[in-house]
Each structure stands twice: as structure tokens, then as C-alpha cells.
């Protein structure tokens, strides 16, 4: 069995065996590890717990009672949020869903097609195309937002839903991952056999390749969904009509307006709580589809 161990690590360990320390470490080790992990979990949960509790406080309670003591204004705050600008908050939520859902779906399809082409076909210019895509991973997307705005403004679609949807469809890292997945998950023989059976290239892609890549594609979709949902600068630059804002931008303007007016704070807090909870539930539900191993494998490639 020792033949399997890496040549680098083993000799250095063999050179200094410390059986005495090992015995004590193996007894207290797991307990210490669990404690540190639980502290980490606490650190990650506290802000979420705070916002949920704070959302139940009336404006006065927010500044006078202890932070983690629940207040009495939960329904008032909810009603106030609901009434703000005729239910604009819910419009923002729908917009976020539209941008992230449709954008990530389109992006995943485009990435899957390109990844399949790069993985399973040999053609002139393939290496160049792949190099450009790899370089695209490193281009800071945020630096592109200003010229993208100017270009979209010149064709008259800046400020529209399209101006936020279209730029997020190209996802170089997604293409890169799809190429890795297609290489690993789709055998050449299967494609070749389908061709011999007379299936068209699109049918092969739709009926054979896509299902075979599906696990990887879910991961690409989720990555891009979260990425678009979290994106701030692109909608910030593109949009001026508040009715088209995603949640993040809407809450940001809430806070900017509330700078001199702490009456808006409960609204911001309620809005944050209401938008965070569905995301966390979504994450918990989708966690099992989230194939981090594919991602980690892709990163190694």
C-alpha cells in the first residue's frame, strides 16, 4: 500500500515518527476541529440571524433595544416594504429572477455548445479560439462595463432589459468548464455511432451530448446564476429606470436615499431579509445538485 503514497511526502514523515504526540492529538483533535468549525459556522450565520431579528423591529426599537432582541414591528415593516412605490420591491425581485434565470440559462447553453465544439471537434483555429477564451477568463469583466454601456447606448438599447441580459451570456469560465466536462463525460464512440445511425449534428447534441453533460451544466448554471444575481456594477451602469432594477441595485438606492433619513433603515433591513431568505433556501435545496467536485476537477485541468 505504501507504493501508492507520493514519493515526496512519505520519507519526510518516516524520518520523524512521534507516536506519543500522535496519541494525544488523536484524542483531542476531533473535538478541537469541531469547535473551530462551529465557531466558523456561527460567524457565517450571525449577520443572517441579525437581519432576520432586526427586520422585526420598529424604527425606534432598532436604535434602542439590544441587537438580538426581537421587536414588535415585523408586520408594519413588511407592510411598509410592500407599499413602497406601489410594490416596487417585488418588481425588483422579479427582475432579479429574470436577469439571473434567463441570463444563466442562455449562458449555459452557449457555453455548452462552445465547450462541446472545443472538446469534440478538431478544426483549424480551435487552439486560437480556446486561447482567446482563456484570456477572457482573466479579463476583469467589470472594466468592460463602461465601453459596453457606450456601445449599447449607440445602438439604443442601454437602459433596457436587454442591456443587462445580453452581456452576461458570454461566460469564458463557463465555456472552459464545459470543455472539461464534455471531454470527460461524452465518449467519442457514442457520437460516432449516432452519426453512423444518421442522426443530425443538432440531434446528437440535443439528445445525447446535453444529457451526458447535464451534471456539469447544472454547476455552470448555478455559478452563473449566483454571479448575475450578485452583479452590481453592470445594472448600475446600464439602467436608469428604477422599475427595471434588480434587488441588489434597488436596496442600494434605498440606502443611498436613507443616508440622512434613518426612517428608511427598517425598510432596507426588511428588504435585505426578504431577499436573502429565498436565496438561502434556494442554496440549501440546490446544494445537492451542486457538483463542486466537477468544479475542482475543472480547475485542475
Amino acid at each position: 500500500m505504501s507504493t501508492l503514497s507520493p514519493p515526496r511526502a512519505q520519507p519526510s514523515i518516516r524520518s520523524r515518527p512521534t507516536p506519543a504526540r500522535r496519541a494525544s492529538a488523536s484524542r483531542s483533535g476531533p473535538r478541537l476541529a469541531s469547535t473551530v468549525l462551529l465557531l466558523g459556522a456561527l460567524y457565517c450565520l450571525i449577520p443572517v440571524a441579525w437581519v432576520v431579528i432586526a427586520s422585526s423591529k420598529s424604527p425606534r426599537e432598532l436604535f434602542t433595544t439590544f441587537s438580538f432582541a426581537p421587536g414588535s414591528g415585523l408586520f408594519d415593516n413588511l407592510a411598509a416594504l410592500n407599499a413602497y412605490a406601489g410594490g416596487q420591491f417585488w418588481q425588483w425581485g422579479l427582475n432579479s429572477l429574470l436577469y439571473a434565470g434567463v441570463g444563466a440559462l442562455a449562458s449555459t447553453l452557449v457555453s455548452a455548445m462552445a465547450g462541446y465544439a472545443l472538446a469534440k471537434f478538431r478544426f483549424k483555429g480551435r487552439d486560437l479560439l480556446f486561447a482567446v477564451i482563456l484570456a477572457g477568463v482573466l479579463v476583469p469583466g467589470i472594466v468592460l462595463a463602461v465601453p459596453q454601456y457606450l456601445l449599447l447606448a449607440s445602438v439604443g438599447i442601454a437602459g433596457s432589459y436587454w442591456s443587462v441580459l445580453l452581456p452576461v451570456i458570454i461566460n469564458p469560465f463557463g465555456i472552459f468548464l464545459c470543455r472539461v466536462f464534455a471531454t470527460a463525460a461524452v465518449p467519442d464512440d457514442t457520437i460516432e455511432a449516432a452519426r453512423l445511425d444518421g442522426a443530425s449534428e443538432f440531434r446528437i447534441f440535443g439528445a445525447i451530448v446535453l444529457p451526458m453533460m447535464s451534471q456539469g451544466l447544472v454547476t455552470v448554471f448555478l455559478l452563473q446564476f449566483v454571479g448575475i444575481w450578485n452583479n452590481f456594477l453592470l445594472p448600475f451602469i446600464m439602467l436608469s429606470d428604477q422599475d427595471k432594477y434588480p434587488v441588489t441595485l434597488g436596496l442600494y438606492t434605498f440606502l443611498s436615499k436613507g443616508a440622512g433619513d434613518s426612517d428608511l433603515y427598517p425598510l432596507v433591513i426588511m428588504g435585505s431579509a426578504v431577499s436573502v431568505i429565498p436565496l438561502i433556501i434556494l442554496l440549501l435545496v440546490l446544494q445537492r445538485f451542486w457538483r463542486a467536485d466537477l468544479l475542482a476537477g475543472g480547475l485542475k485541468g
Binding site: M1, S2, S5, A9, S12, I13, T18, P19, A25, G29, A33, S34, V36, L37, L38, G40, A41, C44, P47, W50, A54, L62, F66, S67, F68, V110, M113, A114, A117, L118, F123, R126, L129, G136, V139, P140, V143, P147, L151, L166, P167, I170, P172, D188, D189, R195, L196, F205, V226, F232, L233, I237, L255, V268, I269, S275, A292, D293, A296, K300
Partner: protein, 320 residues
């Protein structure tokens, strides 16, 4: 389709792959699949980059001179670059991002590695709960994370300050000059540690456990196994999570922008991207904004390539 025209490549040229039957028409199939990606790549990546570079050499000059001069847009060479590189606000912003990054990146990666190693320790309790709880902030957008932490920092709503007041101490200032960097880095840590932990943990689980068995038989304890076997083996994952952290960090924007209404310490040009935004949309100085963007993009690219090269040599280079 491919069955009709049979043109197998000569086997002597390509001995390894299985022989392929492909018609000449098929040369166009991969392009068909890649076409949407290429179109979007050109329209939303390559053209904007080109346009940015073009704009960075353009600017306004007063034509004609005297009272009758009018502003005309023209080529002005490297003036915008000179202006960007001598602009103290822009340079100060770059400096702030570097200070912030030098706090945020090591703490995110270090803690992510620590948590991943602890999750991978045998007989740890509450493993699933801890993993999920630490991953939860990944679902919280940066703007909302900044809002949450902003309220936890804000003197009038902060629980820390509530306790400080009860104890008779003065309010703590989380937005003061050195403290602000740590407050911002803490938001990055909270948002990023879970995602990076999952990536590292997944690479850890891919290591065959026989390696650990062998080490245990040889008398290694869990700490030694973690430091001497696990860390070197997950180094590639660390390099890549590190690269993405660097890319994200240097593009810092939404966190300081969100916290700005809460404090006067954050100016409207506090980080380079805020400065670029202001030049482009408030000052109507597109050329200057474009030059600053190009400088920032090149800086990020060079920085990440150097980092990648450096760590790649250290992690992959000594294997052979």
C-alpha cells in the same frame, strides 16, 4: 451524412485517435456550435476592449485658440495615460485596493484552507452542518452582505457598540482609517470563505485515503498529515482559488459603494473603479476613464499572470 463520403485520414499521420470518417461539410459543424459564443465574445468582450483602447487615446482639445476656440474630439496620444498615472486620487485608490487585498486575500484563503482541512479530519462532529452554514454567505450578494455588515458596524445599530455602551465604553469606530480596511476585508472573508472552502475540501476528498493510511502506519499524526500531505496535494486548487480571489479583489466596487452612505471616510473615488465611473459618467471624461480602465486591466492581468507563474512553478515545477 458521414457514411456517404469516406475519407479516412492516413493512419501513419495520426496513429493514436481512432480513424474518423468525416465529410468536408463537417468542417463547418464545430463552427456552428461555437458561433453563438464567438458572436457574444466579439460583441461584448473584444469590441469593448478595442473601443476602450481607442477611446483612451482620444480627448478634447481647444481648436482655434482665443475666445473663438471650440472643443473638438481628437487624437491626443498618451495624454490620458499620463493623466491617469499622475492622478493622485487614482493612484491612492490603487494603493487602498492593494492594502485591502493584502488583508482580504490571505485571510479568505487561509481560513478556507483551515476549514477544509478541519472538515476533512476524521471523526469530526457536525460536519454537514458546519459545511452548509459556512457556505451560506455565498448565496448573499455583495451589496446585501455589505448592508448587513454595515448595520453591524454602524454605531447606532451595532451589537458590539450596544454592549460597549452598556459597559460604559465609548463607541467603536469600524469606519475609521485603519479599521475600515479590516471592516471591508471582513465582508470579503464572510462572503468568500465558504465557496473557497468547498473547492479545497472537494480536492481533498479526491485524494485516495490509502495515502493517509500509509502515513498513519508510519506514525504521522493528523496535523502532520494535513501539513505535509494534504496541503501540497491541494496546492493546485489553492493557486486557482487564489487567482480568482485576486481578480475579484482588484475589482472592488460594490462593497465600498454600498457602505458609502454610512460613513464619510469613503470618498466618491475611494477605489479605482469608483474613480473610473466618476470620470466616465459625472465628469464626461470618457478618454480618461478608458485610459484608467486599460491601466487597471493591464495591472490585473500582469499581476495575476505573475502570481500564476510564480505559484505554478512552486506547486507543479518540483514534481518531476
Amino acid at each position: 451524412m458521414s457514411a456517404t463520403v469516406v475519407a479516412p485520414p492516413s493512419r501513419t499521420e495520426r496513429p493514436t485517435p481512432p480513424p474518423r470518417r468525416r465529410s468536408r461539410r463537417n468542417a463547418f459543424v464545430p463552427w456552428m456550435f461555437a458561433a453563438p459564443a464567438i458572436v457574444f465574445l466579439v460583441v461584448f468582450l473584444i469590441i469593448p476592449i478595442g473601443y476602450s483602447i481607442y477611446l483612451s487615446f482620444r480627448g478634447f482639445r481647444i481648436d482655434g485658440g482665443g475666445a473663438f476656440g471650440r472643443r473638438v474630439e481628437t487624437w491626443i496620444g498618451f495624454d490620458n495615460y499620463v493623466a491617469a498615472l499622475t492622478d493622485t486620487e487614482f493612484l491612492a485608490g490603487l494603493g487602498r485596493v492593494l492594502v485591502y487585498g493584502s488583508i482580504a486575500i490571505p485571510s479568505v484563503l487561509g481560513l478556507a484552507l483551515l476549514f477544509a482541512l478541519l472538515l476533512d479530519t476524521p471523526r469530526v462532529r457536525a460536519r454537514g452542518f458546519a459545511r452548509t452554514a459556512i457556505f451560506i454567505p455565498y448565496a448573499v450578494p455583495g451589496v446585501i452582505a455589505s448592508l448587513l455588515w454595515g448595520f453591524l458596524y454602524l454605531p447606532s445599530t451595532s451589537p458590539v457598540n450596544f454592549l460597549a455602551r452598556q459597559l460604559g465604553a465609548g463607541p467603536l469606530d469600524f469606519f475609521g482609517e485603519p479599521a475600515l480596511y479590516f471592516s471591508l476585508a471582513n465582508i470579503a472573508l464572510w462572503s468568500g470563505v465558504g465557496f473557497n472552502m468547498i473547492i479545497i475540501y472537494t480536492s481533498l476528498k479526491a485524494i485516495p485515503s490509502e495515502i493517509y493510511e500509509a502515513a498513519r502506519i508510519d506514525g504521522a499524526n493528523e496535523l502532520q498529515i494535513a501539513l505535509r500531505i494534504k496541503v501540497p496535494l491541494v496546492a493546485p486548487a489553492l493557486v486557482l482559488t487564489g487567482l480568482f480571489s485576486v481578480l475579484g479583489t482588484l475589482q472592488l466596487y460594490s462593497e465600498p459603494a454600498t457602505l458609502r452612505p454610512m460613513t464619510t471616510t469613503i470618498s466618491s473615488t475611494w477605489v479605482p473603479l469608483m474613480k473610473i465611473y466618476q470620470e466616465a459618467f459625472m465628469n464626461d471624461n470618457l478618454g480618461g476613464a478608458a485610459a484608467a480602465s486599460v491601466v487597471l486591466a493591464i495591472g490585473i492581468l500582469v499581476f495575476s499572470l505573475v502570481l500564476l507563474r510564480f505559484f505554478q512553478r512552486r506547486t507543479f515545477g518540483d514534481n518531476s
